[in-house]
Amino acid sequence: MRILILIFFLNLFVSHKALALIEIDITRGNLDPLPIAVSPLHVDVKSEEYKDIKVKELGDNISKIIEKNFRNTGLFNPLKKDAFVQKPDIAHLKPRFEDWRLIKAQALVTGKLLVKGEKLKVEFRLWDLTAAKEITALAFTTTPSNWRRVAHIISDKIYERLTGEEGYFDTRIIYVAESGPKNQRIKKLAIMDQDGANTKYLTLGNELVLTPRFNPTNQMVTYMSYFRNMPRVYLLDIETGTQEIVGNFPGMTFAPRFSPDGKKIIMSFAKDGNSDIYTMELESRIVERITEHSSIDTSPSFSPDGKFIAFNSDRSGLQQIYIMRSDGSNVKRITFGKGIYGTPVWSPRGDLIAFTKMHKGRFYIGVMRTDGTGERLLTENYYQEAPSWSPNGRVLVFYRETKAGDKGEGFTAKLWSIDITGYNERRLSTKTDASDPSWSSLLTK
């Protein structure tokens, strides 16, 4: 599983953002996506066969993944390849800018690759067609089986160069794969690439599993399992497959998440009808009680600096969102709008809290500032909840369920994403029904 990617900069010409003529403002909904031409990567004729990879088609396939990534952002408009005016290898050396401008492209991606000695060598260039110059170039070497990740890393670099924000394509999503009738669901932990490729199942479905969440290095997952009919928080090492129970609690533990430094797990512990929030330090196993209140306190989420915790409590009567210092002091309610609020999740940028809101039988995913002001509802539906942030804090993934008929027919659970602008809502492709998504951080920084 461990993947080493060697990245070195090839010929990175001056690339201050100010010098580029094209850039994208992603702080608002983009109704005019940037026309971009993604040329197939030229496959070097000296390339060798490698396992079952279709080396000759690799350049084309990588460019298609990049295009799909870009289209899914809603910020780019990848142009049709049949209008392309230059062969990939020639364009990669130096494009005829005026010809590409004729097909209304504003940016051009070119590249080439070589598979040799069990290695895949890739380089790409991003061209600003308006300014008629190269603005980013990068080359790297990896194992050929990583070719999909190569496409995601190139996408990230281009996104970063053109938006000024970190990308989110070389990432994974862990979720609960669901199958079977609604009242006898089989649930398994599943992991996939952000674009739906490479799905792997991490549990067999023998017991109910819920709410998986990555640690900051994406190697560990904390989740809830009903193993032996004891609902408890578990820790799973994705690489080795080892699982262990978290702490030794005489009752149900649930709603786990990692602290931003990855050293603690924060979760709820329910006993005698009362749920409170606890942390456990993984190395020392020291357990600390954070809230002590006769109400339900759950769904805790740390701020990225680790100083605060947002959580869900019904101490006012119904579910509302509260924040407190990480030691449990200074508890403050932050939601006062109409309806009830759950599942607060602090943005990785620290500026916003995403949440689920329930009002008059409808469910909303929204964001607000960390003091509860500036509430914006992004999407409304019959049932949806559990937002999780893209690592750059621009996109939320969540799950949505549909209404069921008499016997449960018509029921589905699917993953969806939406930009925090409220635009670009789309369904993520999953092999099965899916819920409880959690987005990883960038796999390669």
């Binding site: 009738p181 609604k182 009242n183 669901r185 109910l208 819920l210 709410t211 809830m224 009919n229 609902p231 009752g251 149900m252 649930f254 709603a255 709820s268 329910a270 005698d272 009808g273 009362n274 749920s275 339900i296 759950t298 769904s299 869900n312 019904d314 119904l318 579910q319 009830i340 759950g342 599942t343 689920t356 329930m358 039988g361 049932y383 909840e385 559990a386 369920e401 209404k403 069921a404 008929g405 008499d406 016997k407 449960g408 029921f411 819920s435 409880d436």
Partner: protein
């Protein structure tokens, strides 16, 4: 001629269906008090006359008069069967967030457990488990099924 008769029959069938469905709706809405389920559908019995479950209002874990009556019957039954242990399963409907519902199910199960204990049943004989919204007894998305799913169920362990 035959066409006419057929049409008549079809109309008759449609009419009867309408009347029947109207009846069943009327009966179902009678099975809810506030939004607590009061009917007998889905209910099973620990022994003759001892229902295994009680129902709750949305987001609530307080026991209704009828729930307390059911639980007193369960307490009597458990006093007579001293060797019997039970698990109380707490459940929520699908109209809430998953994590909150887990806590809510636990609170409901404990409300039932506490009541049994006030009638002399030892806490040692009663374990609780919450399934949140994970195990609906009625999979339909409708107020009636949600009310049937907001429940705590007393299950024999041995």
């Amino acid at each position: 001629m035959t066409l006419k008769t057929n049409l008549k029959n079809i109309l008759l069938v449609i009419f009867t269906t309408l009347v029947l469905s109207a009846c069943s709706t009327a009966k179902k809405s009678g099975d809810i008090d506030g939004d607590v389920y009061t009917g007998k559908e889905t209910v099973e019995y620990l022994a003759s006359g001892v229902p295994d479950r009680v129902f709750f209002a949305t987001n609530k874990s307080s026991l209704t008069t009828k729930s307390r009556e059911t639980l007193r019957k369960q307490a009597t039954f458990l006093r007579k069967n001293k060797k019997l242990n039970v698990t109380i399963e707490g459940h929520a409907d699908e109209r809430g967030t998953r994590e909150y519902n887990l806590a809510l199910g636990e609170r409901r199960a404990n409300a039932a457990r506490d009541y049994l204990m006030t009638y002399g049943i030892s806490g040692k004989r009663i374990s609780v488990i919450s399934y949140g919204k994970e195990k609906p007894v009625n999979p339909k998305s409708s107020p009636i099924s949600w009310s049937q799913n907001r429940r705590s169920v007393t299950v024999k362990v041995n």
